[in-house]
Every structure is written in structure tokens, then in C-alpha cells.
């Protein structure tokens, strides 16, 4: 193996490092472009070059073969540390990165997210204190000494966690050290320039003593290097001496350059202009074409119809194969694979990354116009059912049916469910006003409406003033360009994604081109949707709670302990009691538990919150705070369905091959009963599921806090009002942790 090839093949792509550096570069460049227009005297091109070179130095240190060589040779490891401390840190500060990085962050994130931290006096004081000469020097020297202490250094050699921490400490200490030397704009001077010369001289003395201890010692400091075989004949002690010499010379070089620069500046005129106020400018709009093209594609009715027809055809294939194909193993039937492994996994991922994409391409509504023509829509939807209660009942029924008939393992019943769904949609859309099925009946739609509260996109009006002057309200009523919103949402008053099918009919109908897809902070609109009116009803709350508790019940039912417990109870009750036991278990999880726990949380919170909330009815508190549990429930759905998608991603080809062979379109293949793509299921996936659950808990807490603040007069009473809900959320989170750490009882489902 020649050296060049060995080195070229040894680059790594650590996602955290690559993503961190790419983000920093992107944010800096965005901010720099704006600042250079406003303050060209402070932001010449060389600053941008310096910053990018600093990032490149970090990338080279952490991703290049130098990182791997650092495990074999001390001198390579020292070169890596020198790149981080002596090259990257000063270059980053020369880029004057503070203001460009702040300017590059989206304005809302800066003001609402980072703003309170940046304005925190204690943090500002601490940073000011740390960047003074003595603390900066002390921390730099202490960090260097501490990590070169043999037990710490060898721990870093053996364990990636300590190794990463070591590099982070070195970079942070070096940034502190170089800050007072470079004083990146708009910093004010912390010390006079002669003091800086003394500072650099002290650092050079420290560096000399430190490096000399390596260069002249007869003792091997890090015996691990003696244990690692290498293809070259460098004795470990010689390697240590070379490392000392390298540190000595290389580390002194940037200090020397800095001292020379300071002397030159001392001899020249003062040139450190004071900062002046900045105006936040909009980013240049020159590169919006791809986004516009994507938006045009999204609003294309033709594309929507193609996608709907594709899903319609797939539904047809599932029905035919479910009725006529083999029932065992269900993994060889399209009705066992497509809905329960693929469709569920992809729709929750779509909800997380974009929005309610399934309803946008829903095949059930394809026959809507035909149904209206044939049946004439003679009735109005009953007033008593103009809420979410029918959907709540149907979703609960679906969850019971799923368990009772083992739908995931029953292609025959899966096919019937799909046929029933088409029939129900046809009838409801034919007999009642357009959109009644989506808004009041469809359980799949309700799942998407509620869970799209965490999606990052929404359909909304671009400019409220345009809507205020609009007299025709085409987005609601429709026109020849589009039929208007099927679920009766009016864009100027629409909040979030509740009841939005993402069909973009409103976008196509708007004559002012004032409607479009816009970003939305995940969870920002939860609890603010249309169903939560000024006097909110309990239907929306019940739906949120059903989806949240249902997520845990649905996943928990797949576990070995749950299955074993159910079997024991059934055995005790006698033969034929399985359905009753399953029904009672679900009633307990989906009905009794939320019916007891949620009002108890509301009552306890109200009692704790004190006078400001005492007059608020329990019903209102339940209705307002229940949607806060949606993110936690969604994280459980995502962890559960994502698991099946990941572990069963290879199941489609055999099932499709078998179906095609049945039609005589392909040669038949023998079925091999193996666990495909399961290599990560045992070790990596529980960790990923725990991350998802944790994220769900955090978003739920943030949403709950926002709603509690709206209900309570002050932060103290809001905290007390939300406390019992936080305990409930923690309980659900703990049960989720328990679920994902249990072995899954797959019960016929292909992993």
C-alpha cells in the first residue's frame, strides 16, 4: 500500500463536524454579504478569507488523515493540536466573526432564541472577564497542561468521547487566548498594546518550557504509543522528541507573527474605528428562482393528480393482493408490506420534515366529484356532529380493530379496510357538503391534521393587507382556477395546520397570488387551531389526547411483556376472552387513563396556580393544554413507525416480485425467511428512538409553557399551572423510554 493511497483513503466524514463547519460557513457568509454592503471598511474580503481558512484548518485537523495518524504518532497528534490552537483560532478571529454570525442567523431566531442569552448581563460579564489577559492566559495554559497529563491524554487516545472533548477544550481555550490579541471588530480594547507584547512573551516562555519537557525527556510520557504497531521505524521516544520540537517551533510562529503585527500597529496611526449602529437588511433576492420553481411544482394540480392516481393504483394493488394473494407469511403480500411498513413510516417522516403531504395526495378523495355528481350532496352535515367527536370515535375504533384483527398481519382484512374507506368517503362526500369526510370523519386525516402541528411548513396568506382588501374570498369559495378550501378554512384567519389538507386549492384559487407555503416553527401553532375557539370545546382536546395516549398504547402492545400479560389474563378468564382482554386494555389506556389523569392535572394545576386561574373552568384548561402533549405523542409514533420502516425497508422487492410472478410478469422466487436490514435494530435504533422521544418531550414542554402563560396572569402561576402536566408528560416519556428499550414482539410482522 503506497503512502499516498493510504493517506487519500483515510479521510473521514464525521457528520457532526461537517455539519457544524458547513453551518458556520453558511451563516457567516450570509451575514458577511449583508455587512459588506453596509460597512465595507470593516469587512474587506481578506476577513472572509481568514474566517474560511480558519474553518478549513479545523476541517483538516479533524477530518484529514492527520486525525488517524494522531493515534499512531505523537508528532502527528501535536500537529493536529497546533492546527486547532495556533492556526484555526487566530484565523477565525481575524474574520471578525461575531457580527457576521449574528447577522447571518435568521432574524426571528436571533431575537427570540438567542436574544435573551446575548443580553444576559451575567454571561456578558463572564465573557468580558474571561477575555482579559490574565484569565485568558491562565485558562489556555491550564487546558494545555491538563490534557497533556498522561492519564488524561491516554484516556483521549482510547475513547472517542474524551478525544472529542479534548479537541473542543483546546479550540475554546485557544479562542480565549487569541481574543485579546486580535480584538475582533467591534470589540473594545481590553489592554494596551505593550501589555499584549508581555502576554505573548509569557505564552512563548510557557510554550518553550512545555515543549522542551517533551523534547529533552528520556521518559516516554504516553506508553500507548509504544503499543501501537506502525509501518515505519520511528521509536516512540524519538517520536516524542520530534513532537516536542514541532510544538516548540510551530506554536511560537503565530505568537511571533502576532508580536510583529502589534509592533507595526504601535508604530502606525490608530485605526480601530468605533462600531456604529447597524440596520438589519433583507438578504439579496437574486437566487430565489429554484425556490419559485419548487413552489410552482408544488401547486401544480397535474402533479397532485398524478400522485393521487399513483396512490389510487397502489391501493388497488393492495386490495387485489390482499384478497387473492397468500395470507401467510403476510410479508409476501403487498397488503402486509405497503401500508404497515412503508406508508406509515413515510407519512410520519413527511410530517416531521415538511407537512401533511399524505392528505395532499390522498387517493380516497379522487372520487369526490363523481360522488357529488351521482348523489347530489342533498344533506347538510348534522349540527351535532360538526366537531371532532365522530373522528375520535372512529380513530379509537381503528386502534381496537388493529389489535383485535391483527391488521398488520392480515392482508385480507387490510384490503377490506381500504375498500371500506373508499366506500365511506364516496358516500359522505356524495351525500354531504364537500370536505365533510376530511373534516369530521376520516381518522387518517385527523392523525395528520393534529400531528402536522409539529410540521415546519404551513399554507398561509403572504400579506394580511391584501386579504383585508379582498372582497371575493376566493380562497374559501373557489373560482374557475380552483375550488376553494375543502375544509372551510379562511386564509386570513387560518392558524397552523389543523384541518389543512395541504391540497393548495386556496393557493390556486387566490386571484391576488397572496397564498403560499411558508415556514412555521414546529409546535408554534399547537393549541391555536380553528377547533380551539374562544370557548374551546373538548373535541379537539380529546383528539389530541387520543393520538398521544394511542401512540404509547399502540407501541406498547407490540412488546413481549404486554403480549405475555395479555395472554396470562386471557388464559385465566378462559378461552375466547382474547378480544375482551384487548378491548379492556385499550379502554384502560385510551379512555380511563386520560379521563382520570388529564382532569386531575388540570384541577391540581388550577389549585396550585392560585387566584389568577381559580375562575377558569377545568374544561377550558383541559381543552387548552391537551394539545401540548401532541409533540410527545408524535415522537412515539415516529419512533415506532420509523423502527418498522427501517427494519423492514427490504421487504417490498420480495412481495412485489411475488405479486408480479403471480401475474406472470416475472419469474417466481423462493421465499427466504430472513431478517433484512436488521443490523442496526439492536444497537443504534434504541438510541435514535430515545433522541426522538427526548425532542418530543422538549417541544411539548415549550408548547405547554406557552399555553400556560396565555392562561395564567404571571410566570409563577403559569409554572404552577403547568407543573402537573409536566409530571404527566414525564410519565409518558418514561413509559416511552421503557417501550423502546424492550425487545419488540413482532407478532408476524417482518422486521
Amino acid at each position: 500500500m503506497d503512502a499516498a493511497r493510504a493517506l487519500l483513503s483515510s479521510w473521514s466524514f464525521e457528520p457532526a463536524v461537517v455539519f457544524g463547519l458547513a453551518s458556520a460557513a453558511g451563516i457567516y457568509l450570509r451575514g458577511f454579504a449583508q455587512l459588506r454592503q453596509q460597512l465595507p471598511e470593516h469587512f474587506p474580503v481578506w476577513r472572509r478569507t481568514a474566517f474560511l481558512a480558519g474553518l478549513a484548518a479545523i476541517a483538516f485537523a479533524l477530518l484529514s488523515p492527520l486525525d488517524g495518524l494522531g493515534d499512531l504518532l505523537l508528532q502527528a497528534h501535536m500537529a493536529q493540536h497546533w492546527l486547532l490552537m495556533g492556526v484555526a483560532a487566530p484565523l477565525l478571529w481575524l474574520g471578525a466573526p461575531i457580527v457576521p454570525l449574528l447577522r447571518g442567523v435568521p432574524r426571528a431566531w436571533l431575537r427570540r432564541g438567542l436574544g435573551p442569552f446575548l443580553a444576559w448581563p451575567a454571561l456578558r460579564r463572564a465573557l468580558r472577564a474571561l477575555t482579559r489577559l490574565v484569565p485568558a492566559f491562565s485558562l489556555w495554559a491550564l487546558t494545555t497542561l491538563a490534557w497533556h497529563w498522561p492519564p488524561a491524554y491516554q484516556a483521549a487516545l482510547r475513547d472517542p468521547f474524551w478525544h472529542d472533548l479534548e479537541h473542543a477544550c483546546f479550540l475554546a481555550a485557544a479562542l480565549l487566548f487569541w481574543y485579546p490579541v486580535i480584538e475582533p471588530w467591534p470589540a473594545r480594547r481590553a489592554g494596551a498594546r505593550p501589555a499584549l507584547l508581555l502576554y505573548l512573551a509569557a505564552a512563548a516562555v510557557f510554550n518553550t518550557l512545555f515543549s522542551a519537557s517533551f523534547a529533552f525527556s528520556d521518559r516516554l510520557f504516553y506508553p500507548l504509543y509504544a503499543e501501537v504497531p506502525t509501518p515505519w521505524s520511528i521509536a516512540p521516544l524519538a517520536d516524542q522528541r520530534a513532537a516536542g520540537a514541532l510544538m516548540w517551533v510551530a506554536s511560537a510562529l503565530p505568537m511571533l507573527l502576532a508580536a510583529v503585527a502589534i509592533v507595526i500597529l504601535m508604530l502606525g496611526p490608530a485605526s480601530h474605528p468605533a462600531p456604529r449602529a447597524l440596520r438589519h437588511a433583507a438578504p439579496p433576492a437574486s437566487t430565489r428562482t429554484p425556490v419559485r420553481a419548487l413552489a410552482a411544482l408544488a401547486r401544480s394540480l397535474r402533479l397532485r393528480r398524478v400522485l393521487q392516481l399513483t396512490l389510487f393504483a397502489l391501493a388497488g394493488a393492495i386490495v387485489v393482493d390482499g384478497w387473492l394473494g397468500p395470507q401467510r407469511p403476510s410479508a409476501l403480500n403487498l397488503a402486509g408490506v405497503l401500508p404497515w411498513t412503508y406508508w406509515r413510516g413515510f407519512v410520519v417522516i413527511a410530517l416531521l420534515l415538511a407537512g401533511n403531504l399524505f392528505c395532499a395526495t390522498c387517493p380516497f378523495t379522487l372520487t369526490r366529484s363523481l360522488a357529488a355528481r351521482l348523489l347530489g350532496r342533498p344533506f347538510a352535515w348534522p349540527a351535532a356532529l360538526r366537531n371532532k367527536w365522530p373522528a375520535v370515535a372512529l380513530f379509537a375504533l381503528y386502534l381496537w380493530t388493529y389489535e383485535a384483527f391483527a391488521l398488520w398481519d392480515s392482508p385480507y382484512w387490510t384490503a377490506w379496510i381500504i375498500v371500506g374507506y373508499f366506500a365511506a368517503c364516496f358516500l359522505v362526500e356524495g351525500l354531504f357538503p364537500r370536505g365533510s369526510f376530511c373534516r369530521h370523519v376520516c381518522p387518517i386525516g385527523q392523525f395528520h391534521f393534529v400531528n402536522s402541528g409539529i410540521s415546519p411548513l404551513e399554507v398561509r396568506a403572504r400579506d394580511a393587507a391584501v386579504c383585508a382588501n379582498c372582497a371575493t374570498h376566493d380562497c374559501l369559495r373557489g373560482n374557475p382556477n380552483g375550488p376553494g378550501c375543502p375544509t372551510g378554512l379562511f386564509l386570513p384567519t387560518k392558524i397552523g395546520n389543523l384541518d389543512c389538507t395541504f391540497c393548495l386549492d386556496c393557493v390556486r384559487a387566490c386571484p391576488h397570488d397572496n397564498a403560499g407555503i411558508a415556514p412555521l416553527a414546529p409546535g408554534a401553532a399547537l393549541g391555536r387551531g380553528r377547533s380551539l375557539r374562544a370557548t374551546p370545546g373538548l373535541d379537539g382536546a380529546a383528539l389530541s389526547l387520543l393520538l398521544c395516549f394511542g401512540a404509547f398504547a399502540n407501541a406498547g402492545a407490540m412488546l413481549e411483556p404486554t403480549v405475555a400479560a395479555g395472554a396470562s389474563v386471557s388464559a385465566w378468564l378462559g378461552k375466547g376472552s382474547e378480544l375482551i382482554v384487548q378491548g379492556l386494555g385499550l379502554l384502560l389506556a385510551l379512555g380511563v387513563a386520560p379521563a382520570l389523569l388529564v382532569p386531575a392535572c388540570a384541577a391540581a394545576g388550577r389549585a396550585l396556580a392560585g387566584t389568577g386561574v381559580r375562575g377558569t373552568p377545568i374544561r377550558r384548561i383541559v381543552a387548552r393544554l391537551s394539545p401540548a402533549l401532541v409533540p410527545l405523542g408524535f415522537s412515539m409514533w415516529l419512533a415506532h413507525f420509523g423502527f418498522h420502516l427501517w427494519t423492514g425497508i427490504g421487504t417490498l422487492p420480495p412481495a412485489a416480485g411475488r405479486a408480479l410472478a403471480g401475474l406472470g410478469l416475472a419469474a417466481s422466487q423462493p421465499f427466504v425467511d430472513s431478517a433484512p436490514a436488521g443490523a442496526l435494530a439492536g444497537t443504534v435504533f434504541p438510541g435514535l428512538q430515545l433522541w426522538l422521544l427526548g425532542a418530543g418531550l422538549v417541544v411539548s414542554a415549550a408548547v405547554g409553557w406557552r399555553i400556560a402563560r396565555e392562561l395564567a396572569p404571571g410566570p409563577g402561576s403559569a409554572l404552577r399551572l403547568g407543573l402537573p402536566w409536566a409530571v404527566l408528560a414525564l410519565g409518558l416519556y418514561a413509559s416511552g423510554v421503557w417501550i423502546v428499550l424492550q425487545p419488540m414482539q413482532m407478532r408476524g410482522m417482518v422486521m
Binding site: M1, D2, A6, L7, S9, S10, W11, S12, P15, V17, V18, F19, A22, S23, G26, L62, L63, P65, G68, L72, G115, P116, F117, L157, R158, D159, P160, E227, V228, P229, T230, P231, W232, T287, P290, V291, L294, P456, I517, P519, A681, G682, T683, P686, G687, L690, W691, G694, A695, L697, V698, A701, A702, W705, P715, Y733, V737, L741, P743, M751
Partner: protein
């Protein structure tokens, strides 16, 4: 919208990147002769535990130079521990082959080719060893000067346990909640003081 799109594209691009990621070499577990070669095997983490481990192999010729174009296959075999472990291992790891040895006891067998990794001149492979027991490890080398094999035992200790394995994922939400609480308290204070 554009920023969101860019972020999404960046994340997708990162997910699509090759698997190679940083890892430390670990400790030397075997060093010996395999036919015409000298083979050294290092493993991380140390001590070796149940779960994922990275095995790095250096193949040298008689002069100590790295052997060009050496092909290395690593195999791990564990005996006994009953059928339950074998079945579970097979379910959790597609590369674990449940089998029966001559004595009729359950056995695990994992085999993978080692490829160039992040350490120059080394070939490396990952393995997910599912049981805490003594494993028989074999490194089979095929190179320009012939073939050879080095076999040795490696003791796999029990895993760290659920909490110690997953502590970052379990701790992070609470750190995030603490940060959120601090954020809200600072916002509240800023509102009170009008800053």
C-alpha cells in the same frame, strides 16, 4: 423558506455521505505471524464489550513495511450460551448466523471483510458481538506473497447496561429543558426591566 430548503438539503447531503467516521484505534489484542506476514489487530472500545466494536488490522511484510493490496477477512465465533441467545442475535443482527457446532451447541459466527478506514495503512471492520463470552477471532490475509491466518481469543465483557449506553440521549432533553427555562427567565427579566 430558502434557508429551510438549504438546511434540509445540507442534512440530506450529510446523511448520504459515506459511512466512514472518526474512531480511535483502541488497544492491541493480537500481534503475530500469519504466513509470510506480520499481523497486528487492535480493537476499540477497551475493554471490549457486548455491542459494536471496531477492529483495525495492520499487515506488514518481513521488512516491516505495510503490505500493498492485502485483503483481510475477520471472523468471530462464539460457542454455547444456548439457543435463545443465538436466535436473538440472529434477529438483531442480520450478519450473525445461528448454527450448530459438532457437539450440537448453539454457535455465533460473524464474518466481515476489513477495508481501509480512517487510520492510514490500517484496514478496519466493525462487528456487533451480541454475547459476553470468549470469542475466537481469526484474521485471514491474502496478499501478493501468499495467504496466512492469525487466530486468537478475545474476551467480550458484558455491555455497559441500558443507562450507561444511552445516557447522552436520556440526559440531553433535560439539559435542553434547563436551557429553555433559563431562556424564558431571561426573557421575563428583560420584559420587566424593559431592555
Amino acid at each position: 423558506m430558502r434557508a429551510l430548503l438549504r438546511t434540509a438539503l445540507a442534512v440530506i447531503a450529510l446523511l448520504a455521505l459515506p459511512e466512514a467516521s472518526r474512531a480511535d484505534l483502541g488497544a492491541l489484542v493480537a500481534d503475530g505471524t500469519a504466513g509470510p506476514y506480520r499481523v497486528s489487530v487492535l480493537v476499540a472500545p477497551t475493554p471490549l464489550r457486548v455491542g459494536r466494536s471496531r477492529w483495525s488490522v495492520l499487515v506488514q511484510d518481513a521488512s516491516g513495511g505495510a503490505v500493498e493490496d492485502a485483503e483481510v477477512t475477520l471472523s468471530w465465533t462464539a460457542e454455547g450460551n444456548g439457543a435463545r441467545h443465538v436466535e436473538r442475535a440472529a434477529r438483531e443482527d442480520a450478519e450473525v448466523t445461528p448454527s450448530r457446532n459438532a457437539a450440537g451447541h448453539g454457535a455465533h459466527h460473524v464474518e466481515r471483510a476489513a477495508r481501509p478506514g480512517v487510520h492510514p495503512f490500517y484496514l478496519s471492520s466493525e462487528a456487533d458481538l451480541p454475547t459476553a463470552t470468549r470469542w475466537r477471532v481469526a484474521a485471514r490475509v491474502r496478499g501478493p506473497k501468499g495467504t496466512g491466518a492469525l487466530a486468537f481469543d478475545a474476551l467480550v465483557s458484558p455491555g455497559l447496561g441500558t443507562w450507561r449506553t444511552h445516557w447522552p440521549a436520556l440526559l440531553t432533553p433535560f439539559l435542553a429543558l434547563g436551557l429553555f427555562a433559563l431562556h424564558q427567565s431571561l426573557r421575563q427579566r428583560a420584559r420587566r426591566t424593559g431592555t
